[in-house]
């Protein structure tokens, strides 16, 4: 048992899921692992545990981060707790064939080594059913485009923390245009110094303020794209 005060086994499913939201909020990785195991033993599908307990819990964390109630250290602790749960669920999700929403190539742009936000986006996108190919940090334009083409990805995601590196996003978008393949990809951008006006100016499809917005935006644009393709 992760904590002497509370036996998680005594909680019913609804209470346990709510407790998981709180444990994610408090960054208690061991408690999350224990709760995931309990729900699996009770016959929950890995997909339901992921979406109803972990992703929803991180969504709440994201809301309070946006509102200035939580700060980066707390969000990192929450993310690490979610990772602990994901480590149990990931192989089970593969086995059970959880639905895949789309494929995204994502990385921090050239000259920039900051990846906290990008890693959160990766985790939340994966939790939302996207296949995520993480290019890591300091990526030149070829990394994005070649990988997106090779992997047949629908989405290219770019992240930057520095005002000096964020203009590189335009280099990637302009290269996509030069190659005549801009419309083949949804381009999402994010990072602390960015805003919507910047995303519009460089020709991105959307600016994503945080990981939760990235997920919602990606889902919406993928769905719109699929609708457009279906009507053709």
């Amino acid at each position: 048992m992760a904590d002497d005060d509370l036996d998680l086994n005594t909680l019913n499913d609804e209470e346990l899921v709510e407790q998981m939201w709180d444990d994610l909020y408090d960054g208690l990785g061991e408690a999350i692992e224990e709760s995931v195991e309990i729900l699996l033993a009770r016959g929950w599908t890995p997909y339901d545990i992921l979406t109803k307990a972990l992703v929803e819990g991180m969504r709440i964390v994201g809301v309070d981060f946006r509102d200035g109630i939580l700060f980066v250290p707390e969000v990192l602790m929450s993310a690490n707790a979610m990772k602990a749960g994901m480590a149990i669920l990931r192989p089970l999700l593969v086995e059970t064939g959880a639905p895949k929403v789309g494929k995204m190539v994502i990385g921090t742009v050239k000259g920039d080594i900051h990846d906290i936000g990008k890693n959160l986006v990766c985790m939340m996108m994966e939790g939302a059913g996207f296949e995520v190919i993480d290019l890591g940090i300091n990526n030149p334009v070829d990394n994005y485009i070649n990988t997106a083409l090779e992997q047949n990805a629908e989405i290219i995601g770019m992240s930057a923390l520095l005002t000096t590196t964020m203009p590189y996003m335009k280099v990637v978008i302009d290269t996509l245009k030069d190659k005549g393949i801009r419309s083949d990809f949804i381009v999402l951008v994010g990072g602390a110094p960015l805003n919507e006006a910047f995303a519009d100016a460089i020709g991105a499809d959307a600016y994503c303020r945080d990981a939760a917005v990235a997920v919602e935006t990606a889902k919406s644009l993928i769905s719109r794209r699929q609708g457009a393709m279906g009507s053709q």
């Binding site: 969504r59 809301v63 309070d64 200035g68 990192l76 940090i137 005002t163």
Partner: protein
């Protein structure tokens, strides 16, 4: 507030308080914050003529160096006031804090300058300065104007994963980095924050053996090599003198117009 949000506010026997405990603490902090007023605490070396006095509103990390520049150049009509350096942990606070000081200062000073870089404010500080008609020192942050913009770009190109120190940041590393990022209580987050860093560069304004030892201790904490670059305070010196010349010209023009 969504249904799920509302549910989480009333739930369950949380171990450390969960969201409900955090929200309660947040409200308590908010009450305390509202009781603090944005006062103007300027430090003057030698008060001058109010019609020609200049106030520099600067990051607390720059105050000692600014006072030195003022003293060495005999710029006795310039005063400085600080915005707390730890606002860098929550940079959204910086523009409003600077704006409040500008508005308070305009009644009492002929000229106002701002000693901040963009400092993670995403251009919002510049928007406010444009509205107020106030200039700031050029550069994204203090590393850039201490090193010089070209030299800083060169340092960044050499190693994007560089953690920068100044005299102030070396001295206050424990508070401004370890404590602010909660690494003092959660050292396991170190790799989340700094896993991609490859070196520490100490931009030394007025290096002393003690400050160098502090920088070495910081580099040892990271487990990374240390590079020392002696910058002095020329960046601040050049900026302040140039801004002061502009202010003097404006004073002359104002007198001629009367």
């Amino acid at each position: 507030m969504s249904e799920a949000d509302a549910q989480t506010s009333k739930i369950s026997p949380a171990r450390r308080g969960g969201r409900a405990g955090r929200l309660e603490a947040h409200v308590r902090r908010g009450v305390r914050k509202t009781s603090a007023s944005a006062t103007l605490n300027a430090w003057s070396l030698t008060p001058g003529d109010p019609a020609t006095r200049t106030l520099v509103i600067a990051c607390g990390a720059l105050i000692a160096e600014l006072q030195q520049v003022i003293r060495l150049n005999g710029l006795d009509h310039i005063e400085v006031t600080a915005v707390p350096a730890d606002y860098h942990a929550t940079p959204d606070k910086i523009p409003d804090a600077v704006a409040a000081k500008i508005r308070a200062a305009k009644q009492r000073y002929a000229h106002v300058l701002v000693g901040f870089g963009d400092c993670g404010t995403r251009g919002r500080l510049d928007e406010i300065l444009a509205q107020e008609g106030v200039e700031r020192i050029e550069g994204a942050h203090c590393y850039a104007f201490y090193a010089g913009l070209d030299r800083f770009a060169q340092l960044h190109d050499e190693a994007a994963g560089t953690f920068y120190l100044t005299d102030f940041l070396a001295r206050h590393f424990d508070k401004l980095t370890l404590k602010a990022l909660k690494l003092d209580t959660h050292p396991e987050l170190k790799s989340d924050y700094f896993g991609n860093y490859t070196r520490v560069v100490y931009l030394a304004q007025l290096p002393t053996p003690e400050r160098l030892a502090r920088a070495q201790a910081v580099a040892a904490w990271f487990g990374l090599p240390l590079t020392v670059v002696e910058t002095g305070v020329a960046g601040l010196d050049d900026w302040l003198k140039a801004a002061d010349r502009t202010s003097a010209d404006q004073n002359s023009a104002a007198r001629a117009a009367k």
